[in-house]
């Protein structure tokens, strides 16, 4: 299985986290599971980079954290998108789409 997964390009982790959290508030573990699941196991988030990213996004004010009960009724830290986060998500999504469009255009013509 690990052979199928690919490393995340620089800078995309924030986008993925924001997108994942835009659906519903999640705790850290669920974020990584969700990304893996939606991408059909292609994208795997290194735990070592997930948490620093979450904390960085929280500091920027794009997501906020609160403590709640998890599915198995344990205390867990849930993250949810703020208004600023939604705006940021739109910005990054635009940028990403432009980037991928441009990249595939180059790949297609060359």
């Amino acid at each position: 299985m690990p052979s199928r997964s690919i490393d995340l390009p620089q800078g995309t982790l924030d986008l993925l986290i924001l997108r994942t959290l835009s659906l519903e508030p999640l705790h850290g573990w669920a974020v990584s599971e969700r990304i893996q699941q939606i991408s059909s196991d292609v994208l795997r988030v290194q735990q070592g980079s997930l948490y620093p990213a979450l904390h960085r996004l929280e500091r920027r004010g794009w997501i906020k954290a609160r403590w709640g009960a998890s599915e198995n009724n344990r205390k867990a830290k849930f993250y949810e998108l703020t208004k600023a986060g939604h705006r940021q998500l739109e910005l990054e999504r635009d940028a990403w789409e432009k980037l991928t469009a441009a990249v595939s255009q180059i790949l297609g013509t060359a």
Binding site: W29, G48, Y51, P52, R59, R60, G61, K75, A76, K77
Partner: protein, 870 residues
């Protein structure tokens, strides 16, 4: 940005919580991951191992999270501070030098700042002090009453006069300070008694009840803190007074201390109705919303009315209102501000030395910095580390400086300059703390930044090549600038001190007009109750002088108002044969009533005519002796002997006094004050019964130990109820009269000495450092046969050049800056060339010495050692 700051702050204050939350969060992740693997069929142990492996180093992740959260700022600070403390402790000599340098600079500044704070910045200890005004000149009680009645700009106004009173009943009679007040005074100052009440308006009338309020110190020390004192009687100047109140501990009259407060109309009914006697200090409290200008205009109107109504005594009266605080500190403000500026220059010099110390240290630590840089430390990180270190040093320096300041203020108080009389101690309050903290922080950051920045700019590769001897051009330039600035600042201070010293020496060399050697003075006042008649006063004086003259060792004793003691009585006069000037415009002269051999005792030369004769007393023809200033001003080109003068207050026909002699001028009001025309007349011929005070002046052949006790015994043999006070020698009086000037000279002198020493140390340090760097070069030079002279020239050239440049700049600065000192200088121009040249030479000598000492060490460099040390 704001959010970011808030977040950082929260992590700073809630650091333990944030840490445990992070732990919880990561643990939760791990547990879920393990649970997931277990669900997929792994054994518990296998799942744990796998999850851990995937997760990587927990601490690393935590570190990254902390970084992401921004907690690193505080942590780095703590870490840097710890590191700085460790490295500083490892080089105690450097640390001690740096801390001491700053402690001196900061301490001296803090001491002066706390004086400035107490004297200039702290508000007066009365409610709403901005509304308080002082009126100049003094006024008489009836005029004060008129002003109170005819103005509407003020909430209240009041007057006070401090006079000695005699407190009897507790053993030896005591001379105390009595405040003769009107009922409006306390209301004006707005301070309530601690016990009891103030004198009411209806008690403040002639023949009113004899009531007294006492000060807190008097209540505590003399009345034994008696809480049942209200209603009890105490004896003051021969009368019994009922205590009706005790003032609070922090209460003081604006100008002078007072022990007891009595109604002027009750205690001094003779003076109260006299319109012409202007002796009250008056204070006013503005109504809210009224400006000083409006109040001044209204007072001027009343002044105009009064001078028309009472032309004899009030003609041309002009009352001037001043904010009370200005009036109290007006004289001292320029001196204090100049001292504050001077001590600021000292701090700048100390800071320059501090910066150079740091630079030398940065060079010594270059290898360490290089290693850290090559391991990937960013420049900003290295600068920050060095800044933390310099700030830590500066803060420690500030803390030691507080200690220096505390000692400094005690020293300042011990000097007893006039403006600090109000203060028993100079508190180090919150404002002083803030001041120390601010200048320490600023010093550490600003003067740490220079060396840190210049160290970070040196090229690592080049430094490696040069075998850790890189002193980039920028650094040596910075050092030169610092040295030059230091020397220039020191010269400015030295010039200021030199000018003050010269002025002070001039002042001391002023001939006071009398010989103070072996002259003892003391003050007594006859109680009005027993010496109401002038003749009884004269008899007492005559008898007392006879007794004192009979004491062994006494050359002569006399009675008068002595110079430099602050006593001054002025009268207007008319001169026989001249047209009488309009009322109120007659010339005013100083009047000195004397009994005994004044001119012989004080060795005041007689310029013309003769001294008084012992027979010239009451009932004999009236005579007077005048000083030279009198002749210059009123009888120029005339033979003064035989001219006749009279006081204007004598009703017609005139009782002319014949001038029988002229004496040399005496500096009565101060060595730096002009001499007023003065008229001396025999005490017994000057029938002014209100003048019940006298100063005994006793000349002895040599200092006599028991003299004061013998004199007191003679006084008390005649009247045991008369206190003897203000016992001081004429020499002491002379010294006290220049205390303020001495204070200025001493402080500025100390600052200048400190500045020169610091600048000398700075030059020495730089030269020693350069010689060290050039050991190799000098060794080669010597090996090639250079003479001592050549080596000295080589080494000293740089330092001498910088010192000379500094001196030149300093001279320009001094010429520009010493102008602000004009008001402090006595008969010295602020650009006095001899002084400026003198201090420049002095500083040049110090600078050369500071260059020479390290240079001499260069001479002893052995070529072989120098080459080997490569």
């Amino acid at each position: 940005m704001l959010h970011d700051l808030f977040f950082r702050l929260r992590t700073l204050f809630r650091s333990p919580t944030a840490e445990s939350e992070l732990d919880d969060e990561l643990r939760f992740y791990l547990e879920r991951q393990i649970a997931k693997y277990v669900k997929s069929g792994m054994s518990e142990a296998e799942a744990t191992r796998r999850a851990r492996l995937e997760f990587g180093g927990v601490d690393q992740v935590k570190d990254q999270c902390r970084d992401a959260r921004g907690i690193s700022f505080v942590e780095t600070l703590v870490q840097d501070a710890r590191y700085a403390a460790r490295t500083l402790l490892r080089s105690p000599a450097f640390t001690a030098c740096a801390v001491l340098t700053l402690a001196l600079g900061i301490g001296a500044n803090t001491a002066i700042f706390s004086v400035v704070n107490s004297v200039l910045l702290n508000p007066l200890p009365y409610p709403d002090p901005q509304a308080l005004l002082a009126a100049r000149p003094n006024d008489s009680p009836p005029d004060l009453k008129d002003l109170q009645r005819q103005t509407s700009s003020f909430d209240s106004g009041g007057g006070v006069n401090i006079e000695p009173m005699d407190f009897t009943g507790n053993g030896e009679p005591m001379r105390i300070h009595g405040a003769f007040v009107d009922a409006g005074l306390l209301q004006t100052l707005g301070v309530q008694p601690m016990l009891g009440r103030w004198i009411s308006d209806d008690e403040d009338v002639k023949g009113g009840p004899r009531n007294v309020l006492v000060s807190y110190p008097f209540w505590r020390e003399v009345l034994g803190s008696d809480v049942h004192i209200l209603g009890k009687a105490i004896r003051l100047s021969g009368n019994s007074y009922t205590v009706i109140g005790v003032m609070p501990g922090d209460f003081n009259l604006p100008k002078e201390p007072a022990d007891v407060f009595v109604s002027l109309s009750v205690a001094y009914p003779e003076a109260a109705p006299e319109r012409g006697v202007h002796f009250l200090h008056t204070y006013w409290r503005l109504k809210p919303g009224v400006t000083l200008t409006q109040a001044q205009a209204e007072i001027a109107q009343v002044d105009g009315r009064l001078s028309e109504q009472f032309p004899d005594t009030e003609k041309g009266r002009r009352t001037i209102l001043l904010p009370l605080h200005d009036w109290l500190v007006g004289n001292i403000r320029p001196a204090l501000l100049i001292l504050f500026g001077a001590v600021g220059l000292v701090l700048l010099i100390a800071c320059a030395n501090f910066a150079m110390l740091l630079m030398a240290r940065a060079v010594a630590r270059q290898r360490e910095l290089m290693i850290r840089a090559s391991l990937g430390a960013k420049n900003s990180r290295l600068i920050r580390q060095q800044l933390t270190e310099s700030t830590l040093l500066a803060l420690v320096g500030g803390a030691v400086g507080l200690l220096v300041a505390k000692l400094g203020t005690m020293f300042l108080l011990a000097l007893k300059p006039a403006p600090l009389h109000r203060f028993h101690s100079i508190p180090i309050d919150a404002r002083v703390f803030a001041f120390v903290f601010a200048i320490s922080l600023l010093t550490g950051l600003l003067f740490g930044l220079l060396p840190a920045w210049s160290a970070s700019r040196s090229d690592i590769a080049e430094a490696l090549r040069a075998n850790q001897r890189a002193t980039g051009p920028s650094r040596s330039l910075l050092r030169s600038v610092l040295i030059t600035a230091e020397v220039a600042l020191a010269l400015i201070l030295l010039a200021g001190a030199g000018l003050l010293i010269k002025g002070f020496l001039r002042l001391l060399s002023v001939n006071p007009g009398f010989n103070p050697a072996n002259v003892m003075t003391m003050y007594l006042q006859l109680p009005a109750t027993r010496y109401a008649q002038f003749q009884s006063q004269t008899n007492f004086r005559r008898e007392l002088l006879a007794r004192i003259n009979a004491l062994p060792g006494v050359e002569a004793a006399m009675i008068t108002d002595i110079p430099l003691a602050g006593n001054y009585v002025g009268h207007r006069i008319v001169i026989d044969g001249r047209p009488t000037p309009a009322a109120g415009t007659e010339p005013q002269v100083q009047v000195l009533s004397i009994m005994g051999d004044y001119f012989r005792v004080m060795q005041i030369p007689i310029r013309a005519g003769r001294d008084f004769l012992p027979t010239e007393r009451e009932g004999q023809p009236l005579v007077a002796v005048v000083n030279e200033a009198f002749v210059r001003e009123h009888l120029p080109g005339q033979n003064p002997i035989g001219s006749r003068i009279d006081w204007i207050r004598t009703p017609d026909p005139h009782q002319w006094m014949t001038i029988v002699g002229v004496v040399a001028d005496v500096k009565h009001s101060g060595l730096n004050q002009p001499v007023d025309p003065a008229v001396y007349s025999p005490f017994s011929q000057n029938d002014e019964a209100w003048r019940r005070w006298m100063t005994l002046v006793i000349k002895t052949r040599a200092p006599i130990a028991g003299l004061v006790e013998d004199v007191k015994k003679q006084v008390w043999n005649m009247d045991s109820q008369i206190p003897v006070s203000d016992i001081q020698s004429m020499d002491d009086l002379l010294a006290v009269s220049v205390a303020q000037e001495r204070f200025n000279v001493l402080l500025l002198g100390i600052f200048a000495a400190l500045a020169v020493a610091l600048a000398g140390v700075g030059i020495y340090g730089m030269m020693a450092y350069r010689v060290n760097l050039r050991t190799h070069e000098i060794g080669v030079y010597i090996a090639l046969g250079a003479q001592h002279r050549d080596v000295l020239r080589l080494v000293m050239k740089d330092g001498a050049k910088l010192a000379l440049l500094g001196i030149a700049l300093g001279l320009a600065g001094a010429i520009a800056l010493t102008r602000v000192m004009v008001s402090l200088l006595f008969e010295v121009e602020p650009t006095d060339p001899p002084t400026l040249i003198g201090v420049a030479l002095l500083l040049a000598a110090v600078a050369l010495l500071a260059c020479y000492l390290p240079a001499r060490r260069a001479l002893s460099i052995h070529p072989m050692t120098a080459l080997r040390c490569e």
